[in-house]
Structures are given as structure tokens and as C-alpha cells.
């Protein structure tokens, strides 16, 4: 297991290294010269040349990349063009609300997805099953920003139960978390159902039933335990999707966070900031998936990668 973990971690490092190359190239593939963008169109040629030299833009690409990578490894992601402040600090400041939203949405998605999936798999009532499957189809097909607007309309403007935008505390988190969670919940519900339908006819489930274990206990204690193993992997992948989805949900609910910050950075063409956010998000995503894969191994003793 240690061998697998190390190999898997090595792969993650390689992928992140490649991500850093891509992100580094981003600013070179963009139309226009970064120094001109930073100084504005009216800057004198001499000023632009001086800034190009200061930024190292007159050096060969591999040298520039080496310098970039060393800085990133030291935690130095450069300075934001707009604010002039270090990018790493700016990201670190905006990350907590986004992490909070993503974690809350993950919790909602897992709870709702597993429960509804289990209900759909065990329900003898075909109407209930059809209803749950249509709901999951809607969840997968509905854009999050529309669901968010509908929730604002219903719970904020008509019923006045919850705040419609901004704010802090758990009440302000409910609608954004549900909005962000809907699609992942629908995916998890489908997966849980399919996985349970595969496990339910197994011998050990029948044995548990035959010896008189209550059916709820058979479901939650015996069947779900095995059925959830593939679901765990997908939770890891969904977490990354939710992190990305925060970009849109934060805009819908006017919440401060990394996602909304990224949109602002793109509109202002603040390249160091965009590059920093992309590297940061890819690293978080890669680490989450690495942990999920290793956790998966610990969860299921039948799996061996060695």
C-alpha cells in the first residue's frame, strides 16, 4: 500500500509539473504583450522595454519557466497587476469562503444523493422510482445558475425565509450550497442506485435477510457499505467539479470567494492572478483525488494495486 501511495503521489507531482508548464505558457499564448497590458497602451517604448527586462520577459522561454517554477515552489505566485499585492496572499484570503461553500455542498450532495439513490433502489413503488429518476435527470440537466435564481425567487423573494445574496452565517450558506450540490447529488443518486442494485441480489445480503436481520439494517449496515465503495471515488471527482462550479454559484449569490475573484481577474486580464488561481485550484483538486484514491484502498481490502 505504501508503494502504491508513493507511485500515485509521484504521478500527481508529474501532472502538477505539466500543469505548471501549461499555465506558464498561458501568458505567452495570449494575444498582446504582458508588459504592454500592465502599463497600458499609451506607455512609451522605453518603459515597456524596461518592464520587460524587469519581468525577465527578454530571457529565453526555458529560463523564464525555470524561474517561474522556482518561485511557485517557494510559494511566490507573483504580484497582481490590479492591486499590486502578492497573488498568494490574495488567493489565501479568498479561499476560506469558497472552501466553506464547497464542503457544505459536498455534504449536501452526499447526504441527498446516497439517501435518494438508496430509496430509488429499494422502492417497490414504481411511481416513486420514476419520480426520483426524473428528479435526478433534472438535477443533471439544469444549469446551476438557473436553479440558484429559482431558489432566490421562491425562498428569498416570495417566502422570505432565507437571505438572497451576500451575508454570512449558515443561513446565507443554505441556498448557495443547495444550488451547487444539486448536480452532484443527482450523479451520486444514480450511481448509488446502480451500485445498490448490483449488491442487493448477492448471497451475503440474502443470508442476512434469511437470518432475520431487519430490512433497514440489511440496507444500511450490509448492502450500502459495499455499494458505497465506487461512490467514494466519484465523491472525490465531484469535489473538484464543485470547486469549479463555485465560480458560477458565487456570482449568482454575490458571495465573495475565489470563484468570483477569478472572473474579475479574467475580465481585468490580470494574468499573474489568473495563473495563480489556476495552479492553486489544480493543486487542490489533485491532492483531493490523491487522498480519495488512497482512502479507497483503505476502505476496500479486496483491492490491491501492487
Amino acid at each position: 500500500m505504501i508503494g502504491y501511495t508513493l507511485r500515485r503521489a509521484g504521478m500527481t507531482l508529474l501532472v502538477l509539473l505539466a500543469v505548471s508548464v501549461l499555465v506558464f505558457l498561458m501568458s505567452h499564448l495570449t494575444p498582446g504583450d504582458p508588459a504592454t497590458i500592465m502599463l497600458g497602451e499609451n506607455a512609451s517604448r522605453a518603459d515597456v522595454l524596461r518592464l520587460r527586462h524587469e519581468l525577465g520577459l527578454d530571457r529565453p522561454l526555458p529560463v523564464q519557466y525555470g524561474r517561474y517554477l522556482l518561485n511557485v515552489l517557494r510559494g511566490d505566485l507573483g504580484r497582481s497587476i490590479r492591486s499590486g499585492r502578492p497573488v498568494a496572499g490574495e488567493i489565501w484570503e479568498r479561499f476560506p469562503p469558497t472552501l466553506q461553500l464547497t464542503l457544505a455542498a459536498t455534504a449536501v450532495a452526499v447526504a441527498a444523493g446516497v439517501l435518494l439513490g438508496a430509496l430509488a433502489a429499494t422502492s417497490r413503488n414504481r411511481a416513486v422510482e420514476a419520480l426520483l429518476m426524473s428528479a435526478s435527470l433534472m438535477g443533471i440537466s439544469m444549469p446551476s445558475f438557473w436553479l440558484g435564481l429559482l431558489l432566490i425567487l421562491l425562498f428569498g423573494l416570495v417566502l422570505h425565509w432565507l437571505p438572497i445574496a451576500g451575508g454570512s452565517g449558515w443561513r446565507a450558506l443554505v441556498l448557495p450550497a443547495v444550488t451547487l450540490a444539486a448536480q452532484a447529488a443527482a450523479v451520486l443518486a444514480r450511481l448509488t442506485r446502480a451500485s445498490l442494485l448490483e449488491v442487493l441480489p448477492s448471497d451475503y445480503v440474502r443470508t442476512a435477510r434469511a437470518k432475520g436481520v431487519a430490512s433497514r439494517r440489511v440496507l444500511f449496515h450490509h448492502a450500502l457499505r459495499n455499494a458505497l465503495i465506487p461512490v467514494v471515488t466519484v465523491i472525490g471527482l465531484q469535489f473538484g467539479g464543485l470547486l469549479g462550479g463555485a465560480v458560477i454559484v458565487e456570482s449568482v449569490f454575490a458571495r465573495s470567494g475565489l470563484g468570483r475573484f477569478a472572473v474579475g481577474a479574467i475580465q481585468a486580464r490580470d494574468f499573474p492572478l489568473i495563473q495563480g488561481i489556476v495552479v492553486f485550484a489544480a493543486a487542490v483538486y489533485a491532492l483531493v483525488n490523491l487522498s480519495v484514491d488512497v482512502l479507497y484502498l483503505a476502505l476496500d481490502p479486496r483491492i490491491s494495486y501492487d
Partner: protein, 278 residues
């Protein structure tokens, strides 16, 4: 593709049939928008601002007095275009890369598959954001961004199918008979992997429409006054209190179009290969 048995199998499933009908309505609206839309989708009408749905304007009017129904109809054209172009980019590039990796193996395979690993290291919409950030916000760049994001899925699927087809005896026989690599790929391998690619493409159009509308919603895609569904919702956000219709109908249109593509894609998958069913 026009195999009658396949079409019969597809239409036997009520959900696939529903998907085909919804997709048909979506396609027809997109193609006929300029004939069936009752009003100009972009010309403002100052005396008709934010009117509730009525006989004259079944979906109401927006903050500039434009007919929401007409804008939704023209919006289907933009969404179809974005979805189809992005899928075409992903399908062509992904299929080519998958064929090369699967057929040649060795270094090519390793390089291409590690490349897809890197693209997959970006969570969902983030890759699209990175590409849009590089190229600048616009609808065309959104198509490219969304297309690039979907390349790995095609590359991996096609590679897997190519690997299994390559082993088949008839490919071996064709090679022995002196078929060139191009002919082997085009005539024998490609023909056998059409199924999974078509399924991916159908499901992909729906996903791409969602991502592209999301990017336009946050202002990185279609720019005003384009009648794009995501951009329309973004404009509707601030009039939600007084004009629910400006937010409800464009969102409903996206959802119906994507539900249709998803149902049709699921139906195609089941009809082409029942073993793939989840």
C-alpha cells in the same frame, strides 16, 4: 447510422423517444428562428419595458422591452452552434489522438495519455476558464475552450475501442492482405468505434451547452446584446423581484434542451450497446 433495426430499438424506449422529440423541437427552433420568432431579438422597445407575459408577448419582455420569446428562440441557435462546434472540435481532435495512441501504442500512446491526464487535472469548468483567460472572453473562444476540455474523454474512449478492435482477426487479415495504415484505420477501425463516439457526442452537446451558458452567465462568453441563454439569465438577475419571467423562460429553455439531449444520448447508448447500460 441509419440502420433501421437501431432506429426501431431506439424508438421502442419511451424516454429515448421523448428525448428525440425534445431534441427535434430544439433543432427546429434553432434552424427556423428567423422565420418563427415574432419580434427582433435585439432591437430595444423603450415603451414595452419589463411587461408581464401576455398574448402579444407570451414570455413577457425584458429590461429593454425586447420580446423574451423571440430572444429564447434565437438563443437556441447560439446554444446549438456552441454545443455542436465544441463537440466537433473535441470529437475530431479526440478521435485522432485516440486512434494514434491506440493503434501505434508505445511512445505515442504514453505521450497522448499523459497529455489527457494533465487536461483532466483541471476540475471541470476551470480548464474552460483557463482557455478563455488566455484567448479573451468571447463566444468563439468559449467554443474552443469547451471543446478542448472535452478532448480527453474522446481520446480515452477511442483509444480503448481501438485497442480492442486492433486485436480482431479481421483487422489482422486486412493487414496481411496489404491494407495501408490509413485504410486500416479509416475502413476497419474507425467504423467499429463510431457507436461510442456518437453516444459521447450526443451527451456532450448537452454538457457543452451547460458549460458555455455558465461562462456567458458570468460574462466570459457571449456579450450583450446577443440573445444567449446564459447571458439573458445574467441580465435577469437584477430584475428578479419584479420580472420573474425574464429569468424563468431562458433557464427553462436550457433545461429542456439539455434534458432532450441527455435522454436521446442515453437511449442511443442503450440501443447501440446494451452492455454499456449503467
Amino acid at each position: 447510422m441509419a440502420d433501421p433495426a437501431l432506429v426501431r430499438r431506439l424508438l421502442r424506449s419511451p424516454s429515448a423517444l421523448a428525448g428525440a422529440v425534445l431534441t427535434g423541437v430544439f433543432l427546429a427552433t434553432a434552424l427556423l428562428a428567423s422565420w418563427i420568432a415574432p419580434y427582433d431579438p435585439v432591437a430595444p422597445a423603450p415603451d414595452l419595458v419589463l411587461q408581464a407575459p401576455s398574448w402579444g408577448h407570451p414570455f413577457g419582455t425584458d429590461e429593454l422591452g425586447r420580446d423574451v420569446l423571440s430572444r429564447v428562440m434565437y438563443g437556441s441557435r447560439i446554444s446549438l452552434e456552441v454545443g455542436a462546434v465544441a463537440v466537433a472540435i473535441a470529437m475530431v481532435a479526440g478521435t485522432a489522438l485516440g486512434l494514434i495512441a491506440g493503434f501505434n501504442g508505445g511512445l505515442w500512446d504514453a505521450l497522448i495519455m499523459r497529455g489527457t491526464d494533465v487536461l483532466l487535472a483541471f476540475p471541470g469548468i476551470l480548464l474552460a476558464i483557463a482557455v478563455v483567460a488566455t484567448l479573451g472572453p468571447s463566444l468563439v473562444n468559449v467554443m474552443i475552450a469547451v471543446g478542448i476540455g472535452a478532448v480527453p474523454v474522446y481520446a480515452r474512449t477511442v483509444r480503448g475501442s481501438t485497442l480492442s478492435v486492433r486485436q480482431m482477426e479481421y483487422v489482422e487479415a486486412a493487414r496481411a492482405a496489404g491494407a495501408t495504415t490509413g485504410r486500416l484505420l479509416g475502413r476497419h477501425v474507425l467504423r467499429n468505434i463510431v457507436g461510442p463516439v456518437v453516444v459521447l457526442a450526443t451527451l456532450g452537446v448537452g454538457i457543452n451547452i451547460l458549460i458555455a451558458a455558465g461562462l456567458s452567465y458570468v460574462g466570459l462568453g457571449a456579450q450583450p446584446p446577443a440573445p444567449e441563454w446564459g447571458a439573458m439569465l445574467s441580465g435577469a438577475r437584477q430584475y428578479l423581484r419584479d420580472a420573474w419571467w425574464t429569468a424563468v423562460f431562458p433557464g427553462l429553455a436550457i433545461t429542456v434542451a439539455v434534458v432532450g439531449m441527455n435522454l436521446l444520448g442515453d437511449g442511443l447508448r442503450d440501443a447501440l450497446d446494451p452492455r454499456l447500460r449503467v
